[in-house]
Symmetry: C2
Subunit: 224 residues, 2 copies
DNA sequence: AATTTCATGTAATTCGTTACATGATTCC
DNA sequence: GGAATCATGTAACGAATTACATGAAATT
């Protein structure tokens, strides 16, 4: 039960795994670096951090201020809180990363998963990418069917909207195909004809050259 | 104040302008014909219909059943309700159609507006299309700036996600450019007054040939 | 006769935003 | 010394979902 989307929770855990941070900075990273897929407000973030602490996945640490901590034991001292992932939190995040089922195929969930692909194994990445692709293909099937049923009853603009929508989905499928291709090529290694050029070596995962997300919307940086 | 998004309300009014319908059918059209941009559940739709009735924009009429109406004056008779737009509702919808300000540039709002372009004048369409384009260009600017600031700190997958996201937005801008171009080319035009016209011929507005929406997600037809 | 699809609704819950309230620090 | 930005939080509200509850009509 309880169908919670948990995207914010997931992203917070993932970001804190890289380094401890306080809420304000976390939110900025959520909305810019990772902001491709979603913008979050403080009204969402701070309460979320508190529940993550209550779950034992994060701990609060006194903020960056160097000396002041001991001198001012008095009341109003508004804390600057740095959040750090606990071992349990790390474990929990890894557990979340291992879920490759249907939930991870959905628009925003998928984007969040993809943003943390750097912390997963190739096998997991493959399952998520392929799952996403199959989800989109189902979608296309439905759109095509619906279009076929209703085509003549719709006006030009509605039709154009549907057409563009379908093309967007088709485009993402192509993107996924390339990503999957790259993942496969990943470590097995290409038959490569010649010259082992060193410059941009490494590249363990192998990414293609374009980009993409499902729903871009950083919207605004300054809360407003 | 009260910042309500009103997309559902808008779409219901727009669909009922073409023809009276009952809730069930309305929901299907919302999720298939128009479903490109959003799926709605009954838990959302039915209460919304009631408030639209309370506002005087719709009236409820006895359902399609032919004879039965007079015979069974007794209790439990679950009604089949057909909703029809009142003159006030029509007026209200036209008033909504005339808003071409910033709200109409946003992702889902824009898609909803576009879906009813057939019922607007060219001048209004132009303002909405150009507004949408400027909104996307701002977005691109922010994304580019953010990318420039953080590029080297991000891993390949995050970068790839951002790249694909930006390309999606750029693609939509190109689509808008073509639409704007077509609008300019296609002389004056019909604000179409409801009623399903058989399309094809004419090509009054002048549409380009691809398709597109901001956020495809009919997700499922069968509620669950 | 049973199943699917049509058809309408309500209650509890989830997820998130806006507006408010407060204050520290840094830049100009 | 004033503005911008950093920093943390809460309360009221909004929009929508899911699960529940009910039942009629059409199809197999």
């Amino acid at each position: 039960m309880s169908r919670r989307s948990g995207i914010l929770e997931f992203a917070v855990l993932g970001l804190l795994r890289e380094a401890p941070m306080h809420g304000y900075e976390l939110r900025k990273r959520l909305n810019t670096s990772l902001g491709i897929f979603r913008a979050f407000s403080y009204g969402t973030l701070y309460p979320c951090l508190k529940t993550l602490v209550a779950s034992g996945w994060l701990i609060e640490e006194p903020g960056s201020a160097p000396e002041e901590a001991l001198a001012s034991s008095l009341a109003g001292r508004r804390a600057k809180i740095v959040y750090r992932l606990t071992p349990e939190g790390k474990e929990h995040f890894e557990e979340l990363l291992s879920h490759t089922g249907p939930d991870a195929w959905e628009d925003e969930h998928f984007a969040a998963r993809f943003a943390f692909f750097g912390q997963t194994e190739r096998e997991v990445r493959m399952r998520v990418l392929e799952g996403r692709r199959s989800r989109l293909e189902e979608r296309l099937e439905k759109m095509r069917a619906s279009l076929a049923r209703t085509r003549e009853r719709l006006d030009d603009y509605t039709l154009e909207l549907q057409r563009h929508g379908m093309e967007s989905v088709e485009r993402e499928v192509r993107w996924l195909n390339e990503l999957i291709e790259s993942e496969r090529a990943g470590r097995d290694q290409r038959p490569d004809t010649g010259a082992p050029h060193d410059n941009d070596s490494g590249e363990t995962g192998g990414l293609p050259r374009h980009g993409g997300s499902t729903r871009p919307d950083p919207s605004d940086d300054t809360t407003k």
